[in-house]
């Protein structure tokens, strides 16, 4: 009888404890971002500034360095030349850069790309579909996708050259 009471009480308290612990975890600790490392990347289709069709699925076998940016965001502007420099270096090693602009006008984006002499594909996310699908909040945000289409890292904030290089290394196919 006494034993039974202890078991009943303990199990009730344990159930309550687990429920509360999970709630607190979900609210205060858990990462709620849509795209998380380990997830499979979400396929998208956009046209770059030259009108070329870019489909993520079509880049299977390559590492993809997905950068979300805007001309009005100073750290985005700052890391563009770094990305350009390393793009030429890592392109042959199977890493592709796709820079997705947050719904600005073509005129601005083209002017910007020309001024900086950017050669990697840049696409404007008209209607913010891709931004929404990946749940991008702050700019810049970089999503690293490996050759199997799996997200290996989500990084928000400006990057130094070393960081960009490390990221490229991370998604270089065959590593």
């Amino acid at each position: 009888m006494k034993q039974k009471r202890l078991i009943v009480r303990s199990s009730i308290l344990v159930v309550i404890g687990i429920a509360l612990a999970y709630t607190f975890y979900a609210n205060f600790i858990a990462d709620h971002s849509v795209a998380q490392a380990g997830d499979y990347s979400i396929n998208f289709v956009l046209n770059d500034l030259e009108g070329e069709r870019i489909e993520l699925e079509g880049m299977k076998g390559k590492g993809v360095f997905l950068n979300f940016w805007g001309t009005y965001c100073p750290p985005c502007v700052k890391e563009m030349p770094i990305m350009e420099e390393l793009y030429t270096e890592y392109k042959d090693q199977g890493v592709e850069i796709v820079a997705i602009n947050a719904n600005e006008t073509e005129l601005q984006v083209e002017n910007f790309a020309n001024r900086l002499g950017l050669t990697f594909p840049i696409a404007i996310d008209k209607g913010r579909n891709v931004i929404d699908a990946y749940g991008i909040k702050p700019l810049p945000t970089t999503i690293l996708i490996d050759e199997h289409g799996v997200i290996v890292r989500v990084f928000s904030g400006g990057m130094t050259e070393q960081m960009v290089r490390d990221f490229m290394e991370e998604i270089k196919p065959g590593t």
Partner: protein
């Protein structure tokens, strides 16, 4: 479980104050003169009986009503503190809260911010308080409901003398014909909708026992409600997104995985007529126009599934609705609410090329601020090129012209003007009320002609799968509350002891009504009206003063 046997033969759990069956007060309580403490029928609350293990101690802590009341009081005080200054969600979104509280409310404000009171209701300790309240409600109810249920089920008709004597309403009287009196009283009590039970010529009349379950039912409602609140933090249960849509634009609805898009065909705002006969005076006092209604003519589209998000996939119209405040658009498990608007956002700016000397104008360019072209050919060798465009211009800290956002709140262009007269081009810097010539004097200038604006609507996207819990919890809570508050559990005992009639009454509230019922029942029986021992004491006390 160790039990003890009362003289009536009933086995009571250890810790009982009053025998569950006959009501005989347990030894130690027996000889006292005061009224019996009848809450929970004097049953043994198990938690207080067994407190050996750690688990039992936790259980006992939450089972205590005293602890429960303290939790309520602390929650109450904490909630009140949260209203001293506005919470962070109610301060302007553009300001930095770290400075805002200090600037607006001085030292106290700064302290308020540093102690985290600006986000009090989502703080871990406030949530812990609410959680403790929920646990307390649950355990305290479980701990009381079962013993009370058993005690009310096992109660006997014939009660112990000591039990009757120590009820608040109690009296004895000698009657000629007890049988006749009891029969009369029974009839009267039945008239008053009492349930009568008899045993050895003794009577107990009872009504409204279900009111005793009211508190437990309302507590169940509260628990379900609190579980609903808890579920909000579980993934996929709750969506709260904000979206702005310009007239004529279509945007993806956030958190629908790109499936739904919504278009704003037109935004309408209507003000009250300032000469309205009924409202005229009040509007004069308010000193400005009052918004009567605003609405978005919304079209909902579902995107064809192409296996990829982005630019491809046809949008198929599925619904349209005028979304207003208090009248949201619903689809799937989502709802779109009208919450805000921005009127007259710049959309198109028109300029003409003007010869500064002759004031002669050449053509007109209409620049779509959301999709400007790079070249506007005016014919006859006149041509405008846009070298730079800043939708929301400002000069950054290193003195480079740049834009703050993609919203054209302060559009600035750097034009290159080509004419047969100036084939190398002249550069001008044009914005709202600015027209500069940064690289030397020009012969031509871009003259502002016209502007077109559009309204922007703000919608909130909401999905809330916790609502069913809240609704069911709320309904159960209200049922329990009404059940417990609007009905009273009344019992009247009529017993023959030593040739006399003993009357006793108990109710969980409203003794006046119980006494009226007793008076009604014994009216013609010859039984004298029992006294209210509490009132009696009061009167004696008054007389002594």
């Amino acid at each position: 479980m160790s039990k003890f046997t009362c003289e009536c033969g009933h086995k009571n759990p250890r810790g009982t104050f009053v025998c569950e069956s006959c009501g005989k007060p347990v030894e130690g309580n027996e000889q006292k003169e005061q009224l019996l403490d009848m809450k929970y029928e004097g049953v043994a609350r198990r938690s207080q009986t067994y407190t050996t293990t750690f688990i039992d101690k936790i259980w006992m802590f939450f089972s205590s009503v005293k602890v429960g009341i303290w939790i309520i009081v602390v929650t109450l005080v904490a909630s009140a503190i949260g209203t001293i200054y506005p919470q962070e969600m109610y301060i302007p979104p553009t300001v930095n809260p770290a400075n805002h509280y200090a600037d607006e409310y001085g030292l106290m404000g700064q302290l308020y911010y540093q102690l985290g009171f600006h986000n009090l209701y989502s703080s871990w300790w406030y949530m812990l308080l609410i959680a403790a309240l929920g646990v307390s409600i649950f355990i305290a109810s479980v701990d009381r409901f079962f013993p009370l249920y058993r005690a009310l089920k096992t109660q006997r008709v014939t009660r112990h003398e000591n039990f009757l004597k120590r009820q608040r309403v109690y009296g004895t009287s000698a009657v000629d014909d007890i049988d006749r009196s009891f029969d009369l009283a029974k009839e009267k009590l039945k008239e008053k909708k009492y349930n009568i039970s008899e045993e050895n010529g003794n009577i107990v009349a009872e009504k409204g026992r279900f009111a005793r379950w009211g508190p437990y039912i309302n507590h169940i409602g509260l628990i379900i409600f609190l579980i609903g609140c808890m579920l909000r933090y579980f993934p996929g249960m709750y969506v709260d997104e904000h979206m702005w849509i310009r007239e004529g634009e279509t945007t993806v609805v956030p958190s629908t995985g790109g499936k739904y898009h919504v278009g704003n065909e037109e935004f309408l705002i209507e003000l009250y007529d300032e000469d309205d006969e009924v409202f005229k005076e009040a509007m004069q006092r308010a000193g400005g126009p009052v918004v009567k209604t605003y609405q978005t003519d919304a079209v909902l589209y579902e995107r064809e599934d192409t296996g990829a998000v982005g630019s491809e996939g046809e949008l198929i119209e599925v619904d349209r609705k005028k979304i207003r405040v208090n009248d949201p658009m619903k689809f799937d498990s989502f709802a779109l609410y009208q919450v805000d608007y921005k009127l007259h956002e710049l959309n198109t700016m028109s300029f003409t090329l003007e010869n500064k000397e002759t004031s002669e104008t050449f053509g007109r360019v209409d620049i779509d601020l959301f999709n400007p072209r790079s070249v506007y050919d005016l014919g006859n060798g006149y041509r405008i090129e846009i070298r730079e465009y800043f939708p929301d211009y400002f000069m950054n800290s290193s003195n480079i012209p740049t834009t703050r956002s993609q919203i054209p709140d302060n559009p600035v262009f750097i034009f290159e003007m080509y004419t047969p007269e100036t084939p190398e081009g002249e550069v001008s810097f044009v914005g709202i009320r600015t027209n500069l010539e940064p690289v030397g004097e020009n012969n031509y200038k871009m003259t502002f002609v016209d502007v077109e604006t559009k309204h922007v609507t703000a919608l909130i996207v909401r999905k809330d799968h916790t609502l069913p819990f809240l609704i069911i919890g709320g309904i159960i809570f209200m049922i329990g509350l009404v059940q417990g508050s609007y009905w009273a559990h009344r019992r009247i005992w009529l017993q023959r002891i030593d040739g006399k009639v003993w009357v006793a009454g108990h109710t969980n509230k409203n003794y006046l009504a119980l006494r009226k019922d007793i008076e009604f029942a014994i009216a013609d029986t010859g039984i004298s009206t029992p006294i209210d021992q509490v009132e009696e004491e009061e009167i004696t006390k008054d007389k002594n003063n």
